[in-house]
Symmetry: C3
């Protein structure tokens, strides 16, 4: 698997796919820079009149609801419909799931009406999304990681999407398969948009290697974690972390990557 992940990373640098992001205002600059650093080409656009056309030229679509409003939610619907019509992958980042009824209602619509290829969130977002989606079952266990894993399995079963729960350990689940990634550094949570960046990179890898959603998600999370960990080792705080992170995304070599990657695979052992 380690070798295959590197192949995704070097493949992204060569194919430079277009990624259309409908994302939040806070992270647009970071996200575009991270996509460029990793080798992809960002598009950010939201006008209703051009959603179909933009999705048509892109290799994948990011839907990030961080600063949603009515206009942008309609942009999302238009883009998603076109992505699904053209069988292009789209990746959902349910930022702030559970924070407000409006956010939950939008998320419920998006995951019940459409079919995300991948969903990535932190533990509380994934748990909130599972609650919104399942409704028949509260999430009441006490251990957050296990809770989130349970929620991820439910979401995978209901939506068919690859589910990634990011955190100190990233969990990626799909149809009985599970990957655990233990890279990264706690300081990564002290800059805004690191999760949004990971989501955008998932879309980039899905675009670069169509059809391999589970492995593409794994490659994106592995690259984010390893680059973040290496950046944290050089950083004096969150400001320099952001700078080093972009530098390393762009320049990391196969040896550097492989010697840092901390990955564990489980198969068929987990079920909801």
């Amino acid at each position: 698997m380690t070798q295959r992940i590197w192949n995704y990373i070097s493949g992204l640098r060569q194919t430079s796919p277009l990624v259309h992001s409908i994302t939040n205002y806070v992270v647009m600059n970071n996200t575009a820079n991270a996509l460029l650093a990793a080798g992809a080409s960002p598009i950010m656009a939201h006008a209703h009149q051009e959603m179909k056309d933009m999705v048509s030229i892109a290799g994948a679509l990011v839907i990030n609801i961080g600063t949603l409003d009515e206009y942008w939610v309609e942009s999302m619907r238009l883009a998603i419909r076109q992505a699904e019509a053209l069988k292009k992958p789209w990746v959902l980042d349910p930022v702030g799931a559970g924070a407000t009824p409006y956010r939950n209602a939008v998320l419920k619509e998006l995951i019940s009406t459409y079919h995300p290829s991948v969903i990535r969130g932190n533990a509380s977002e994934i748990m909130a999304l599972a609650q919104v989606s399942v409704q028949t079952k509260g999430v009441d266990s006490t251990h957050q990681t296990e809770e989130a894993l349970d929620a991820a399995l439910q979401l995978n079963a209901i939506t068919g999407a690859v589910i990634c729960v990011s955190g100190a350990t990233d969990n990626i689940v799909h149809h009985g398969k599970r990957i655990l990634l233990r890279n990264g550094d706690p300081i990564m949570s002290r800059i805004t948009g690191m999760g949004c960046t990971a989501t955008a990179l998932i879309a980039a890898f899905c675009a670069s290697t169509p059809g391999e959603l589970f492995e593409a998600t794994t490659a994106a999370m592995a690259l984010t974690g390893v680059a973040g960990e290496k950046a944290a080792a050089q950083a004096k705080g969150p400001g320099s972390l952001q700078m080093h992170f972009l530098d390393i995304l762009s320049t990391i070599t196969e040896d550097e990557f492989n010697s840092s990657l901390n990955i564990e695979e489980e198969y068929a052992s987990i079920q909801s």
Copy 2:
């Protein structure tokens, strides 16, 4: 006072309050990163349907009119009403006050209809805001600092808000009390959003220590000034200033802070 200010800073790192910012597009990324670096948790949202809910989970609200439009002004109203209903502090940043009649009309509405806890602006913004508010008296003195102080005292008397005039010397006034802070560096004005960052930090400290608006404002301005001054000493220009500033916000120690703080207090000696 010096010791109390440090207690605010260490308290913010421990309490990590949620700060809801309705702010301008230009500085959203900076502001979120500065809040995170100082220990707070940023929320940025503006959809009308979720304003009440977002304010309900936040500890304080930032209203920054930098890139206002009709939709966002209504978001501001909805958020402010909920903050006032729940007795949560809200902080006004009157970006560009005086630049256009529209901006002035919005500001006049906000400070006459609602009750900001704190208002922070530069000298010309505070003077413009006082003119908008008072109307019976032009600001015609020739010495800008004194003009601004006079405007600040008027605004404090009219609105009841703590008023902060930031500049080479920051002036914070409230009910006859006045703090002067002489930290910072001129290069801080060469990066966008340093004032907006200070405003967001004021909200964070207000959320972290409810009821202590004057001291919370002082702590925020002191932290901004000291961190900016230390960052400037290391910076080779505005690009590296931004990076060092975030690093220092996050890592500054009590000794480093206290040995740099340049603060002066006046009581009962000033009146409009």
Copy 3:
């Protein structure tokens, strides 16, 4: 010419003109910081009610369609009309020209109804814009630089605007004059908004030296290229490139600038 360019740069630092940018969400922070670093003062605003007033106090206007929508296009129209009424320069950045019919329709309206002072884009944007504008002639040659130059000459003839095609070599054309600039570094394309920054700097120089549109454009592109080239020499990747770029924009000296500038002038030798 070299000496005159430096005079523009030092003049910008002294005059500090106000530049009003109606630009895209992705680059607002970069653009504001680049304007500040070079010595200008940025305004970013888009509310319809204040477009006339903002343009009235600004020295120049940037129209960048990167994340356009209906509301923002109307903001653009209102701002452009006021700029033209007051004979203030406005600079068009046709981001993503050719990507969608909506984008093309907006661009067609802007350049046929109004009169941009300068247009800056990359080769494909300038070629797309010429196609939109000319319509009678496809762009079908095979050599991209030559294609773009041909498109630039057509656009100059039709619109009367100074046309800048940025790339490995920047070409600036106007009424038979042509400047070639060969500074910069390929890594500049790995951070978002470097072209948008160049456009904003063009507006700043046009504001700083009214009436000298061709030389102002040359000065902006020269400063961007030289600062980017010097930043690239120090950078370890795109993250540190952005930081060094802002530092150098702010601190570059006459000797450093002149010793790096790679400029070639042609006169009267080119015609469409």
